[in-house]
């Protein structure tokens, strides 16, 4: 049984501590999760205990964890605890943000709904095959749906997914990504791209913010 300090590879501030404590802590936890030293569904000690363990204040612990909660690596539930959400599963993590349409609408008191415009299987175009590293005769599910809030069209989403990962477009009800999760392990190991989603959003009703983050591959 190793201590948490060991599991996340923590060392007290050396002379080379240019980074603030909360960032060093955040990176240490992040690395431990990505290495697998902290497993999904693991519960972290309480914030007060963490503060004692690492000789910092609870505020610093919270600042360290908050970034990981925001990026989806951790999950905090008031009254319950802090839990590891997911390993280095960047595809599922990234796409999970896109499922929030329904949640977003409901949070604002609007009733979300979906009209399916297309659900079919066809061959990949040469371009898609090239981009997604597929053989030219690979079959693809093509999904297209209109998203509404209180009956008002808000977005059109088009998704193309290899049938290797989604065998039947009619498996998808509300969340494409919930279905894809089933296949998580099969396509995450090699990191190959598996899906492309293409969306139009109402410019007068949405902020659309996209962020890119280069994946930092840690070898240790």
């Amino acid at each position: 049984m190793s201590t948490l300090r060991e599991r996340i590879g923590w060392q007290d501030a050396g002379p080379n501590s240019a980074m603030p404590i909360y960032l060093r802590l955040r990176e240490a936890f992040k690395s431990a999760i990505q290495r697998g030293d902290l497993q999904p569904c693991d519960a972290l000690p309480g914030e007060r205990d963490l503060a004692v363990s690492f000789n910092v204040s609870r505020v610093t612990i919270r600042k360290a964890l908050s970034g990981l909660v925001e990026s989806g690596l951790l999950n905090q539930r008031q009254g319950s605890g802090t839990y590891v959400c997911a390993g280095p599963n960047r595809v599922e993590q990234a796409l999970s943000r896109l499922t929030s349409f329904s949640d977003d609408m409901r949070l604002r008191g609007l009733e979300p709904s979906v009209v399916w415009l297309k659900r079919e299987i066809s061959h990949a175009t040469p371009r898609q095959a090239m981009r997604l590293s597929l053989s030219p005769n690979e079959t693809m599910c093509r999904l297209k749906r209109l998203r509404l809030a209180n009956g008002t069209p808000m977005a059109i989403e088009t998704a193309v997914v290899s049938t290797r990962h989604l065998s039947d477009p009619y498996l998808v009800e509300n969340s494409l990504y919930a279905v894809l999760e089933i296949d998580r392990l099969s396509f995450l190991d090699n990191g190959a791209p598996i899906e492309f989603t293409h969306s139009w959003y109402r410019g007068d009703a949405y902020d659309f913010v996209a962020e890119l983050t280069l994946r930092t591959t840690t070898n240790d």
Copy 2:
């Protein structure tokens, strides 16, 4: 001359203060910026002064402001101050995030470069005309470029912009959005969508995170 409390429409916690102070403060500042009561380039008072003005601690002020900094409405510079970044310019705000490719690469010690695959003017397709609320014979700039880091292809971006907003595709060098900013006022007032960008990213090298936020139109 009105006080800052008045400009952001602040009122001390009434009995109906279900939201925490830092969120109410954040919303008040956000609304003031979007209404134009706080203008771009305006400097905010120092955090210590704000804390006194609103009868809260500096930590609470910082927590309120941090969300606005993160979403690009405010800009903080150590040793200098806090400044209003942009008005209710959601198109420019959203797209500005996408310009970060070069910055991202450089931050990580990689040299970004661009290979143009297409820069042309043609007519809008019927579908595009419909989606972007254009007349059917509207002309569009079509831009397609390959993004590289240290010579390795990392992303392909395709952008389609009405010539009303971008007269010549050769005006675009590195940042499409820098060029579009010139036209900012002309297309932001009506909130019409003006552009569609379509990008492929290397699944093995990128995290791609997209967030949607419903625009909350505050009338007061």
